[in-house]
């Protein structure tokens, strides 16, 4: 009986040594939490970058034609950019997208007194 006991004790000792060798690296946080934190940090950085981009683009829009923020409403950069400034003079104040005929503005009704 004593011998059996000795064998069992040695077995348990070996098992303990083996498991000590293969003990996994301990994690400070559960895995899903690390993932969530990483995503939160990432989204925050994206948000900050977006704000910076918007502020930068607003500042430099009058200076540069091509804007890196990219989301110009309507159409992307077309080739007719440089015509816009002259068309602006003809824009109608009352209707969007309509243009006034400037030639007519100077004409006044001449009423000839009969």
């Amino acid at each position: 009986m004593g011998r059996d006991h000795t064998v069992v004790i040695w077995l348990i000792l070996t098992l303990g040594v083996v498991t000590a060798q293969i003990d996994k690296v301990e994690r400070a946080l559960p895995q899903w939490l690390t993932g969530i934190i990483a995503v939160a940090v990432f989204l925050f950085l994206i948000f900050v970058a977006f704000l910076v981009n918007k502020a930068w683009c607003q500042d430099s829009r009058p200076d540069t034609k091509e804007c890196e923020c990219g989301k110009t409403p309507g159409y992307a950069n077309t080739n007719g950019d440089h015509y816009d400034t002259s068309l602006d003079m003809f824009r109608s104040r009352d209707h969007e997208g309509a243009y006034e005929n400037m030639d007519l503005e100077g004409i006044e009704d001449k009423v000839t007194v009969m």
């Binding site: 293969i22 895995q31 995503v39 080739n79």
Partner: protein
């Protein structure tokens, strides 16, 4: 065994003497042949017993040692994003059998792929350069995305990722997830530049950006070298081993048949056929690999069983004084110790990203698919699809590899060199057989055929993409340099011929494989790309995102970077990495500087040289910047060459810095060529009218239609306004960008989860 054919007993024996007599007569009546058969059946019975009892210490040497490729997977030498793998022959796998239903599945698979290839041939116009090499620039997002995935994931991935999962844990998947980020970078940052520049190949982009010829030729030859010596070889090895194990055919016959089938639709159909068949192959790969994943998880007992079981997957025969054979502590961590581990985390963040950027953002195979998209939105959608698909290799290949180690630790994780040599012929380790073992052991018949189809799909999809892209580089960069006046007809012919040349080269790899018994040769070949990628990547990066980079800076950065990389490569050849139980006696430079750190240093060095030399020499000319960098991608097309743009033939040398005079001269030549073609056609038609139908059919099959003179100008006018091709429908653009944020968040989550 019952002895039933003895003489009928004479009643019951009553005493010992009668019993003895009955026994003697019965014994004498047993025919001699029965004993003979017993003896002769012994080998077969032992084989069956050996196959059933995997851990049976009685080992029987099986037949079929004709293809021994004893090489080990070294995760540090991964090249095409996650693999290296020199796979090994494993006699210990048991006798693999493919029954009828497996053959049926394989035949159905081949017919499906050929059908898709033929359909795509009929659908696209293949007689122009754009039609053949860029699929007419008419592909939607889903063929682009699936083709990106299928071209990247080859048969080497299956073996390599599973093998490294078995050997070292999940760290190799860092290549895959890094690739996810890089493919998104391609779609959003690099591709607009490439589209705006209107190039077909990457060396052509460098030539336009930097001018001169030396960089273009240098890079073209380097790319061809890398393709032939690393990409084709890796996939040929892994595919050849799988074929031989499962089908037991003569390896040459199997490979030649396979390559002829792929060459059939690659040569005739061009990129369009390759992309559509890639989409079909992706579907097959996903179905098969996910099925195997399901089987292996069922076998091991679930997710938790995997997590806990891996730590105890220790082979029974190992040297107890060392840690060889014991699974790593940080097996389930992606970010490992910066000094002592096999993949240090700073190396993963920096040293892995630069070569990864080379692969996804400036390699011809990958970029060509994105260039074939209809417009930028479809290209971005394709990148997104590819990025989502790149999440899967972790679950489909790495985890089953680890499960394979848990299920068969004595073979897959063998720690003793003699045992390893017995199992798979390679004394270094047998982790390469991890995936193949699962396929052969776990799957029922029918599904084994499906997995064969999966491996062949992976092999064929990668090979066809490499063939097509190599042919593109050879035709557009090298051939056009040698013969600048080549007609489109000639370029098409050359492009097709080169694919056939590459088929021959691929078959020639097999004797090399068989000769490299030591396997070290193959590892060295893999290191070629690891040390050669960073300088090229830096040159592309600086070229695209810094306007001041000029030709001298780029050339000297490339030259010095490749030189330093070559020196390290030579050192690696001379001092190979030691086996697990051996002393590490390499010089400190090789021993202590991990190859990922070296890659970072090499990139920095190249960057310093490029910046330094560029600032010290003259600025690049405006036509080398316009539409060729990120900041100038919206520049308008030069109006001076506008008149000739509608006749811009891709056959003439269309460098923008060529004078208008030269272009007119070439145009005249073009017309003359077209006229001679017409004359020849008229005369030939008059004389040989009966043969013209056969010729016409042949021409249609090869996708080369002789055009009349009026049509000789290429049909879709190339990029009159490159900026307009960067237009995006604003609503869809928002959708795609939102999808980008989602995809990146998922990537960040899984990287954070496994950190």
């Amino acid at each position: 065994m019952c002895i039933k054919n003895g003489p009928p007993p004479k009643g019951h024996p009553d005493n010992m003497k009668q019993l003895w007599e009955a026994l003697e007569s019965t014994w004498a009546s047993i025919p001699v042949e029965r004993f003979q058969h017993l003896v002769e059946s012994m080998p077969r019975q032992i084989e069956t017993m050996n196959e059933d009892n995997v851990s049976n210490p009685v080992r029987v040497q099986l037949r079929n040692h004709s293809l021994r490729i004893p090489v080990t997977f070294d995760p540090s030498m991964a090249t095409t994003q996650g693999t290296t793998v020199p796979p090994s022959q494993s006699p210990g796998l048991g006798v693999p059998t493919l029954v009828t239903i497996d053959i049926v599945v394989l035949v159905v698979y081949f017919l499906l792929v050929l059908a898709v290839g033929l359909w795509s041939m009929w659908k696209t116009k293949r007689s122009t350069v754009d039609g053949y090499f860029l699929a007419g620039k008419s592909m939607s997002w889903w063929p682009v995305g699936t083709s990106l995935f299928a071209s990247n994931v080859g048969s080497g991935h299956f073996m390599g990722l599973a093998g490294s999962g078995a050997a070292a844990g999940i760290s190799a998947v860092a290549y895959e997830w890094n690739g996810m980020l890089m493919v998104l970078l391609l779609g959003w940052l690099f591709l607009p530049i490439y589209i705006a520049s209107g190039v077909t190949t990457m060396p052509e982009y460098l030539q336009k950006r930097f001018g001169g010829k030396r960089i273009q030729l240098f890079i073209a030859i380097l790319y061809l070298f890398i393709y032939i010596f690393t990409k084709i070889s890796v996939d040929m090895y892994a595919g050849a081993v799988f074929i031989q194990q499962a089908l037991q055919w003569n390896i040459y016959v199997a490979v030649v048949v396979l390559l002829l089938i792929t060459a059939l639709y690659t040569v005739t159909g061009g990129l369009a056929a390759v992309m559509y068949t890639d989409a079909a192959q992706t579907g097959i790969m996903l179905i098969g690999a996910l099925t195997l994943m399901g089987f292996s998880f069922a076998e091991v007992g679930g997710w938790n069983a995997l997590l806990e079981g891996y730590a105890t997957a220790i082979p029974s025969v190992r040297d107890p004084n060392t840690t060889c054979g014991i699974p790593r502590d940080d097996a389930f961590h992606l970010f490992r110790d910066p000094v002592t581990s096999d993949l240090p985390w700073p190396g993963i963040l920096l040293g892995m990203s630069i070569p990864s950027m080379w692969y996804w953002c400036s390699d011809q195979v990958i970029v060509q698919r994105s260039l074939a998209a209809k417009n930028l939105l479809h290209a971005k959608g394709g990148s997104l699809l590819a990025a989502y698909l790149k999440i899967l290799p972790f679950f489909m290949m790495v985890l089953p590899g680890m499960i394979s180690r848990i299920l068969y630790p004595d073979e897959v994780a063998c720690g003793d060199p003699e045992v390893c040599t017995e199992v798979c012929g390679n004394p270094v380790g047998c982790s390469d057989i991890a995936y193949a073992k699962l396929v052969m052991k776990l799957l029922p018949s029918g599904l084994r055929g499906l997995m064969m189809a999966v491996m062949i799909a992976a092999l064929m999809s990668s090979l066809t993409s490499i063939f097509n892209s190599s042919s593109t580089i050879f035709t557009m960069d090298l051939w056009r340099h040698v013969r600048p006046r080549a007609t489109e007809w000639e370029l098409m012919l050359v492009g097709r011929m080169f694919v056939l040349v590459l088929v021959v080269v691929s078959v020639l790899w097999i004797p090399v494989v068989q000769a490299s018994q030591g396997g070290q040769l193959f590892i060295y070949i893999q290191s070629i790309s690891t040390y050669l990628q960073p300088p090229v990547s830096i040159v592309f990066l600086t070229g695209c995102f810094w306007k001041r980079t000029n030709e001298k800076g780029a050339f000297w950065g490339l030259f010095l970077g490749l030189l330093v990389g070559g020196v390290r490569m030579a050192l690696d050849f001379i001092y190979p990495s030691p086996l697990c139980y051996q002393e590490d006696s390499r010089p400190d430079v090789v021993k202590h500087v991990h190859y990922l750190y070296f890659s970072t240093v090499l990139s920095l060095l190249t960057l310093v040289v490029v910046v330094g030399v560029s600032l010290a020499t003259e600025k690049p000319r405006p036509e080398q910047i316009s539409r060729l960098t990120w900041f100038t991608r919206f520049d308008k097309v030069e109006k001076s060459s506008g008149a000739l743009e509608t006749v811009e033939t891709v056959t003439s040398a269309t460098e923008t810095e060529e004078s208008a005079e030269q272009e007119i001269e070439v145009r005249e030549q073009e017309k003359a060529n077209g006229e001679t073609h017409l004359q020849r056609k008229v005369s030939s038609e008059a004389s040989v009218r009966s043969q013209s139908r056969l010729k016409a059919a042949l021409y249609w099959l090869c996708g080369m239609e002789r055009q009349k003179e009026g049509d000789s100008a290429p049909q879709p006018p190339l990029l009159l306004h490159p900026a307009s091709s960067l237009e995006e429908d604003p609503c869809l653009s928002h959708v795609v960008d939102a999808n980008l944020i989602i995809c990146l968040s998922i990537a960040v989550f899984i990287i954070g989860y496994w950190a």
